[in-house]
Amino acid sequence: MEGRISEEMAALTWAGIGIVFAVLALIAFVISVIKRLDDRWQAAEAKADAKAVLKPATIDETTLVLISAAAAVAVGGRFRVRRIRRLLSPKTKRTPWSAQGRLILQGSHAPSRQRDLR
């Protein structure tokens, strides 16, 4: 062995293990606390939900409007939207850039090009 360990480095060795331990233990502790809080929230929400038995809307309002608009243009008269089933993943719904694309497209008058933006 050619090298040697200064006192400072020896301290660092043990301190390092300790710090890593402390940080992860702290995270573990905080998660436990948050989980306990969350359990209470969830219980409270479950109660609230139980009251609201209404079937939630499965499609957002803007989309409903757009479908109505498209239909209005196509049918050229009065009509009622009875039921809407989503064909694409609901996740895309919330992303502005793609929503932008979708909206613009739907605002456009070239329905056959809709494929482009998927």
Partner: protein, 377 residues
Amino acid sequence: MDVVWDFLQVGIVGNFSWGNMAMLAIGCVFIYLGIAKDYEPLLLVPIGFGMLVGNIPLSSGMNIGIYEPGSVLFILYQGVTQGWYPSLIFLGIGAMTDFSAMLSNPRLILLGAAAQAGIFLTFAGSLLLGFAEKDAAAIGIIGGADGPTAIFLSSQLAPHLLGAIAVAAYSYMALVPVIQPPIIKLLTTRKERLIRMKPSRPVSKRIRIIFPIVAFILCAGIAPGAISLLGFLFFGNLLKESGVTERLAKTARSSLIDTVTILLGLCVGASTDASRFLTPASVKIAALGALSFCVATAAGVIFAKVMNLFTKEKINPIIGAAGVSAVPDSARVCQMVGAKEDPQNFLIMHAMAPNVAGVIGSAVAAGVFLSKFVMRG
């Protein structure tokens, strides 16, 4: 335990500051608004987390902070300071934007022009509040309601205000559904809000291909300062519309724009270090930004009413508000406001026209400022 003590000194223990704590809280609010309220989450979540990253208290000299040359954040931040993240985002936006609504009814483009008055009036207001000329120009562009344009212009004219301007621009864009409706209602009568517009005609593929080429040459010829933004916007749009480069357009509007959006948001957020961000200037910028949005909205609506004095086919003045850009939120707002009076009135298609015209308009405005101030400086 000196080692542990020294170690703690470089972190929060040795560098605690209430400013950083406040910024951490603001970052959490941004994330909360993005996730729980669904306000522009693709922007607010990265910016919010970036605020956390940029405001962890630490000793400088560790090669970590976004302002320390050589750090990872500094390197990634260069895309912002050198201005090419915004350009690449415009490439992607071009590749996902359909200008059909606008091409179908070209006179609506003027609404997109009118709303840019907000930019120049805010510029004047900033001068009055004592900002230097270049800074005032960068602040004014917040009224353009277009994140990449605001960041690009700040990076060229007022790098030290970039964080505050970007945060203001994105905050107000997220708040468009809150800001615009009352202004629209104030400035229009119920009768005006009930105006129905004719469904517009489809546009041929040929026109959609020619448009980005002609529009680029016109805009850039007159306002060459806009090349770095509009060159990429119209290039992306040509890739989309040409029909033979769909492969490139798809990448531009998916992985390319996503990657840049992630990095831009994170870096802009991380640049809001409390010591630079929590200043009186930021407060002024926030106030001017709000004013800017209001003026722009009003200008669009009023100009639509003025146009109605001279034309036979009446425009529903609500869609003038979409001229601020903030695509597509502000077009949605128009639809919403219109539908309150008449649920069968589908304004969103028409609102897209001033909406995308507004993007071009604010890029031209940025070009005007660049031409004026970069040359001198």
